[in-house]
């Protein structure tokens, strides 16, 4: 045995090679960023939005609590008395100026916790970058949700499907008093476009992941799991094929979207051309393209 043990010792480094080679058969844990992104949890902090009530009124009452609590000093608010004939918010005052400087914001969400009317909350978007400092200062024009209650999508922001779904997740998660009795209770007003958002279950036991958007780690990190924890039909070769199909679909979608954008741009250009050339001289194909194009610029000649 002595000899064999000696050989075993000498060859112990092979274990390391075995392990690294084994990884060839395991699912890949990395993702093709930015095409594919990790799902975001509802509590995630991101770019702020200013919310509105369901009747379209702004929630912000210009109380400046958010500006007061901000540890990075990045919020600037000025309140103004509501004009009596067309009030902006249901309260006495409204936020007349509202600015957040994203070069300073640390996304601690203390502002979200401080706001008494749930006016300022955070979306899930954190992938935004600017090419100049002025763009980094978001004003009310950028922060306020649109008439459908959706956050505005600025050209330098990388919005994905679910990013706007669970805004205000952190505000709903905190139940700032830390009192167990208030968990699972609705303590906030309805939002334009989304209505009253459901609370997290917490200790109340009324858990509804589908409504709150909470995702289990098992699902988010499926490829990280040990082999026996991965669902049977996502394991091994079958899993590879399934993941391959998913990524092919994603590619196809992206390609189509790119084609669509290209087509629209072309159509707009063509429409531009025809209108500048004059309406009487439209050629056959230009008409076709112009009719499919989204509303081009109006001509007033």
């Amino acid at each position: 045995m002595g000899f064999l043990d000696g050989v075993k010792d000498e060859l112990s480094f092979l274990g390391g090679f075995k392990l690294t080679f084994e990884h060839l058969t395991r699912p890949r844990v990395t993702r093709q960023y930015p095409e594919e992104k990790k799902p975001k949890q509802p509590r995630q902090h991101g770019r702020h939005v200013l919310n509105r009530y369901e009747d379209g009124m702004e929630k912000c009452i210009g109380c400046e609590l958010c500006a007061g609590v901000c540890p990075a000093d990045c919020i600037y608010v000025r309140g103004l008395d509501n004009p009596p004939d067309h009030p902006v918010s249901p309260g006495e005052r409204y936020g007349y100026v509202y600015e957040i400087n994203y070069l300073r914001c640390i996304h601690c969400d203390l502002c979200v916790e401080a706001c008494p009317t749930e006016a300022i909350t955070e979306s899930k978007l954190f992938e935004f970058s600017f090419t100049n400092r002025a763009d980094a200062i978001y004003t009310k024009a950028e922060l306020l949700v649109d008439d459908a209650g959706k956050p505005q999508k600025l050209p330098w922001e990388d919005w994905r499907d679910a990013d706007e779904l669970h805004t205000s997740g952190w505000m709903r998660a905190t139940s700032p008093s830390g009192s167990a009795a208030y968990e699972g209770e609705v303590q906030w007003s309805a939002e334009l476009g989304y209505g009253v958002r459901p609370p997290e279950g917490g200790q109340s036991g009324r858990r509804d992941d589908a409504a709150t958007g909470t995702k289990a780690l098992r699902d988010v990190l499926e490829t990280h799991l040990l082999d026996e924890d991965i669902p049977l039909d996502h394991r091994g070769m079958r899993g590879r094929i399934w993941r391959g199909k998913l990524s092919a679909e994603r590619h196809k979608k992206q390609l189509e979207a790119a084609r669509q954008r290209h087509k629209e741009a072309k159509a707009t250009r063509a429409a531009d051309k025809t209108t500048t050339r004059g309406a009487d001289k439209t050629s056959e194909d230009a008409v076709d393209e112009a009719s499919t194009a989204p509303a081009g610029p109006e001509v007033d000649s």
Binding site: G68, P71, G178
Partner: protein, 458 residues
């Protein structure tokens, strides 16, 4: 530049030094290593790695130091602050004789952000957002020590669920921090696979943090009075899946590194430290434990509810790189053992103290009660007032004793906050560890000390 440099005068000669002491400055230039003829005895000994608080005999015999050695035989080189293996912006000045390190001098200050001063400008409500940025590999422990210090001044008890959530989060933090260390240490020794694996497992913990606190680091989650939010729905399963996976993977690291002849040759007997040296240098954490001293604040001075948990303190024997490696690897397993116990025993109830002076009222009450609204406004504008006094609280961070010394003048902002950063203190061991070693081992040794420069410079 003349005005900036104080003139060297004769009357500041200190007895016992052979040369004029260099100008008392704290600038980066004054921290640099000078050639031997320009260095006084005490400084030279320190750079050589003498532990000045110990009797000279056992450590460095003054006669061993070859002070007559001529300059042109040795070379002073600069490593860092942009060196990829110095874990941030640590700068080391090394005196080399060929491949052998004769003297070492860590130069710090490249990541100084003035956080202790900033803390004086922020209320206790905002404070956690600041301290969390010191040790960026274990933000939650920073928040914990700050919160515990504030609570000690306030003289309040946090509810049991908050205590256990804090414990759960700190142990997960220890796992993630040690995993990160395993990754970078593997990288420093040339094991790229280990780096990827370490990051892969750490991702699981970070994803759980993201789900709980909304952020992957700098959470602002543990705050004076409790924790910001309850654990998310489904946390039991999430924690279990982390424990299960990381534990199983930790045995793969064994296969990849622990048993590997090359890895062992590069770690065993490299960077030795004796228990006396470690104690005299005030080293804590895995460095102290690697020398065989079973000192872990979770056991020796229990805080939170650590005295109710069943866990072992991992100690080493030789105080070398390999011991420090295996201590961290085994602490991951120990922490997982604790996390499972915590998850099983998590008490129900409130997770913030129900003192309206410290904790804001429930959101639902703001619209109903004027008093609640006033409390809400007060807490979020001027914060809460903390009684006058001073306090020192220490906890066991993944790197060692993390202490917070807090002085209050009765207002809602700390009068002074000082942090005892374990990385800062442990960095003192570097000249001792490097003494007489090879330059190729320097990277491995720095890595095994696990300094986080954010905490060193604060």
């Amino acid at each position: 530049m003349e005005g900036c440099v104080a003139p060297v005068t004769d009357d500041v000669f200190v007895e016992g030094t052979r040369h004029a002491p260099r100008v008392a400055e704290t600038s980066e230039g004054a921290q640099e290593m000078a050639p031997r003829p320009e260095t006084d005895d005490a400084e030279l000994r320190r750079e050589v790695g003498a532990v000045l608080r110990m009797a000279e005999g056992p450590v460095v015999n003054a006669n061993d130091i070859d002070i007559e050695r001529r300059d042109d035989e040795t070379m002073i080189i600069n490593m860092g602050p942009q060196h990829p293996s110095t874990h941030g912006v640590l700068r080391l000045m090394l005196e080399l004789d060929g491949e052998t390190v004769l003297r070492t001098k860590p130069v710090i200050g490249y990541l100084h952000t003035g956080m202790e001063k900033t803390a004086e400008e922020l209320t206790y409500v905002q404070g956690a957002t600041n301290v969390t940025r010191m040790d960026y590999l274990s933000p939650l422990t920073n928040e914990l020590v700050f919160s515990m210090a504030t609570e000690a001044l306030l003289d309040v008890e946090v509810p049991p669920r908050a205590v256990w959530i804090r414990m759960l989060m700190s142990e997960l933090q220890r796992v993630s921090s040690h995993l990160m260390w395993m990754a970078t240490n593997g990288m420093d020794l040339g094991s790229t696979s280990m780096m990827i694996y370490g990051f892969r497992e750490r991702e699981m913990v970070l994803t759980f943090f993201e789900k709980t606190t909304g952020l992957r680091m700098n959470h602002n989650y543990i705050r004076p009075g409790g924790v910001a939010a309850d654990l998310p729905d489904g946390w039991e399963d999430d924690v279990e899946v982390i424990c299960e996976t990381v534990l199983a993977r930790s045995f793969e690291y064994d296969e990849l590194l622990t048993g590997q002849p090359i890895f062992r040759q590069r770690t065993e007997g490299i960077g030795n430290l004796s228990a006396e040296e470690a104690l005299a240098l005030s080293a804590t954490g895995p460095i102290l434990r690697s020398t065989g001293v079973p000192w872990d604040l979770r056991r020796t001075m229990p805080y939170l509810a650590y005295d109710e948990l069943d866990f072992d303190i991992i100690v080493g024997t030789y105080g070398d790189n390999f011991d420090r490696y295996s201590i961290r690897l085994n602490e991951i397993r120990e922490s997982i053992k604790m996390i499972r116990q915590i998850a099983a025993r998590m008490p129900p109830g409130d997770y913030r103290i129900q003192d309206r002076k410290v904790t804001p009222p429930p959101r639902a009450r703001i619209d109903e009660s004027m008093e609640a609204l006033i409390h809400h406004f007060k807490i979020f504008t001027e914060g809460f007032k903390v009684p006058e006094g001073e306090v020192y609280v220490a906890i066991e961070s993944p790197r060692g004793e993390l202490g917070c010394y807090l002085v209050s003048d009765g207002s809602s902002k700390p009068y002074r906050m000082h942090i005892r950063g374990p990385s800062f203190v442990n960095l003192q061991t570097v000249p001792v560890l490097l003494r007489g070693g090879l330059i190729a081992d320097a990277v491995a040794i720095i890595s095994s000390v696990d300094p986080v420069m954010g905490e060193v410079d604060r």
